[in-house]
């Protein structure tokens, strides 16, 4: 199985860039907190693709990239747990998960 000869690295980078900006766009334009969280997960996964791809294509005999991807997954899981806890608390207080209605912390 020779992935390198069939799919060039550029494809991977383009894919991860696309995923990253889709995630960013989701965070920026969606008003629902849960959807925004999903956008963040997408951005993290874009990073993971980059880690794994660069590791695999450029340094095939090393494993740091893979491990980093694993660490990012672990952190993403923890972050999702905290974020959802926060969102639940926000919902209890404001009775909404619309981010525009949650703007008390300001000047």
């Amino acid at each position: 199985m020779n992935l390198q000869s069939e799919i060039p690295l550029q494809y991977m980078v383009v894919l991860s860039t696309l995923v990253f900006f889709i995630g960013l766009l989701g965070v920026l334009i969606r008003r629902n907190l849960i959807t925004m969280l999903m956008g963040i997960e997408l951005m993290l996964n874009a990073v993971n693709i980059n880690f794994v791809a660069f590791n695999h294509y450029l340094f095939p005999h090393r494993l740091e990239g893979h491990f980093f991807a694993l660490i990012v997954m672990a952190i993403a899981a923890a972050e999702a747990a905290i974020a959802i806890a926060l969102i639940i608390n926000i919902y209890r207080k404001f009775l909404t998960v619309n981010v525009d209605d949650v703007d008390e912390l300001k000047y």
Binding site: V27, L28, M36, V99, D100, D103, E104, K106
Partner: protein, 636 residues
């Protein structure tokens, strides 16, 4: 012989100060008094044994050596700039130990009676211990920097004790005045220390005053305004000494300092602290003598003028404590004159005489103040025209006060005669004019002291609210002790013990000096007796006939007014006001400008923090993007 135990001499008062100061009102007043007095008694015994050991163990043939009993490195700034704390024992400091602990012990005992029932009794004893600690630290200092530290501590404790009756505005004003005037003088002292140690690279007294050391053997190099740098340094150091010892024109604080409790005046403003200036000059005497004789000459003239000036003022003052204060000025003037006329070694008569006078003066002046305190305690007034005829009511105070007056007037065989006589001999050998002035001052001294004596104890008995009575035994015991000390101190073989080089000084008795000085003292006493023995209507006539001179001396030559004029109309007007304007408008203004700019700017941009999380993300993301583009662009 090890002298390490001398460290206790100044650790005990420190401990007493801390414990009394911290426990304060948790202790009963009587307990606090007993603790303070016991601590003092212990260090008095220690000081006496130190003196005995020191003078008996070092041989007088090759001179009393100075011993560093204890010296510890305290502060290290650089390799050269190191400050030690320690205990230096030499004839001078050992003599001072004895004087300070004796007078301080007597004042502690006396205060048990005098201050009974006063508010803040515990504080009073704590402050007395603080003062004793600082004064002892000052005299045993091994280096000039340690001396400076304790010098300031002495000033602080003096400030605290002058302002002890802090409900009285006059006491508060007096304590501030004392602090500011001496602080101003200490500025000169500090600059002098810095110049001296910059030139010599050391703070250490042993190196500074070593006859073969660099300070004395090196030729005074740079000249500044016609005087060598060493002379400048020594003059500035003397300025500090003049402030503490209240030499003209820095004397104005001492008479006002009489606002403090009378035992404090006896201890601090008569016997110990005010002679710190004399001690300072004596401590650095080899430098004065060999490297800056001009400064020594200046000291002589300042001392001589002050002694005459203060003696004249003392003749017209009505407050008995102020008379004694001016008399203190005058006597310290004597000591300064003696130092100024002195040479080193074989010619060190003046040095010996000065310290001899310091020694005897401490006893008789403390006695005078404590006697005055006893009188004030009995009649509740300071003004001598409200007193009279007290000899019947207070026999012990009367006798001891008489002894003190005879001593200060220089009547043989009381101790003042011996020490004053040595000073006059030293002055006669050095400078005839100064001798004449000091001889005259001896007469004036006898006059004003006996004016005081006759006004209080003889004269016309006044109507008292309640019959005056003799003071309690805690107050009369110190009087008796000090009276005995005043009589006996003259027989101490001082020329064997405390001399400029530690060797025995050979002195002779000069009839030609002694007789005229006793004669003028007797004349002064006689005049005082005629005028004040009983009520005398001629006094009013005399005062009105000499109205101008009388007013001039009664108002202390308007020195206070001159000071007020200079400070308020010149310094405040032309220096302080512009400085205050500069501070308020330029310094504060620039700071306010910075602050206000920040306020306005942040007010303008604070709306960005709207609470909309997505706006933040927009800004953050676009910022990151812009930075990335910029980095890519620039590094290409």
């Amino acid at each position: 012989m090890s002298y390490t135990f001398t460290i206790l001499i100044f650790l005990i008062p420190l401990t007493v100060f801390l414990s009394l100061g911290l426990l304060n009102s948790k202790l009963k007043p009587s307990v606090a008094g007993v603790i303070g007095t016991t601590g003092l008694a212990v260090i008095t015994i220690l000081s006496y044994s130190t003196a005995y050991l020191y003078f008996s163990s070092t041989s007088t043939q090759e001179g009393h050596k100075s011993i560093e009993a204890f010296n510890v490195l305290w502060l290290t700034f650089t390799d050269q700039l190191q400050i030690h704390l320690g205990v230096l024992l030499d004839p001078l400091s050992v003599m001072m130990l004895v004087v300070i602990t004796t007078v301080s012990l007597m004042v502690h005992v006396y205060s048990l009676g005098y201050m009974r029932g006063e508010r803040g009794f515990q504080h009073y004893y704590a402050f007395l211990s603080l003062f004793t600690f600082s004064m002892l630290g000052l005299v045993v200092a091994t280096n000039i920097f340690q001396m400076y530290i304790f010098w300031e501590l002495v000033g602080v404790s003096s400030y605290l004790l002058i302002g002890f009756y802090y409900e009285r505005p006059s006491a508060v004003a007096a304590s501030k005045k004392a602090f500011i005037v001496t602080r101003f003088a200490d500025l000169g002292f500090l600059v002098g220390i810095l110049i001296l140690s910059f030139n010599t690279g050391t703070f250490d007294f042993a190196t500074l005053t070593s006859l073969t050391g660099p300070v004395i053997t090196q030729t005074p190099g740079t000249l500044f305004l016609g005087m060598s740098v060493t002379t400048w340094a020594m003059l500035l150091i003397f300025m500090g000494g003049a402030g503490k010892s209240a030499m003209f024109p820095l004397h104005i604080w001492l008479p006002d300092a009489m606002e403090g409790p009378t035992p404090v005046s006896a201890l601090i403003h008569a016997a110990t602290m005010v002679v710190a200036g004399v001690y300072l000059v004596a401590r650095l005497f080899p430098i004065y003598s060999f490297s800056s004789p001009d400064a020594l000459e200046a000291i002589m003239y300042v001392g001589s003028f002050t002694s005459l000036f203060a003696a004249v003022i003392a003749c017209t003052q009505l407050d008995i404590k102020r008379v004694l204060a001016y008399s203190t000025l005058s006597q310290i003037g004597y000591m300064m004159v003696a130092l100024g006329t002195s040479g080193y070694g074989e010619n060190g008569l003046g040095y010996m005489a000065s310290l001899f006078h310091l020694f005897t003066h401490a006893f008789f002046k403390a006695l005078l103040f404590l006697g005055a305190g006893s009188v004030i305690h009995a009649v509740h007034t300071n003004v001598m025209t409200n007193m009279g005829g007290l000899r019947k009511y207070m026999p012990l105070t009367h006798i001891t006060f008489l002894i003190a007056c005879l001593t200060i007037a220089g009547i043989p065989p009381f101790s003042g005669f011996f020490s004053k006589d040595e000073i006059l001999v030293a002055a006669f050998e050095h400078n005839k004019l100064v001798f004449a002035v000091q001889w005259l001052v001896a007469g004036i001294t006898a006059f004003y002291m006996f004016r005081l004596y006759f006004s209080i104890f003889w004269n016309h008995p006044r109507e008292y609210d309640h019959t005056p009575h003799e003071s309690p035994v805690t107050m009369t015991f110190p009087l008796i002790f000090l009276a005995i000390a005043s009589v006996m101190a003259g027989f101490v073989p001082f020329h064997d013990l405390v001399t400029s080089d530690g060797r025995i000084l050979h002195t002779e008795f000069h009839w030609i000096i002694a007789l005229p000085s006793v004669l003028i003292a007797l004349i002064g006493m006689g005049v005082a007796a005629i005028l004040y023995y009983k009520q005398n209507p001629k006094l009013e006539n005399l005062a009105s006939r000499l109205k101008g001179i009388y007013q001039l001396t009664f108002q202390k030559f308007f020195i206070d007014e001159i000071y007020l004029f200079i400070t308020q109309n010149i310094i405040f007007q032309f220096v302080s006001r512009p400085l205050a304007w500069f501070d308020r408008h330029v310094v504060d203004g620039s700071m306010n400008l910075v602050g206000n700019t920040t306020v306005v700017f942040s007010g303008a941009i604070k709306r960005i923090q709207s609470g909309h999380v997505q706006l933040y993300i927009w800004l953050f993301a676009s910022g990151a993007l812009l930075l990335t583009i910029a980095v890519l662009y620039l590094t290409k």
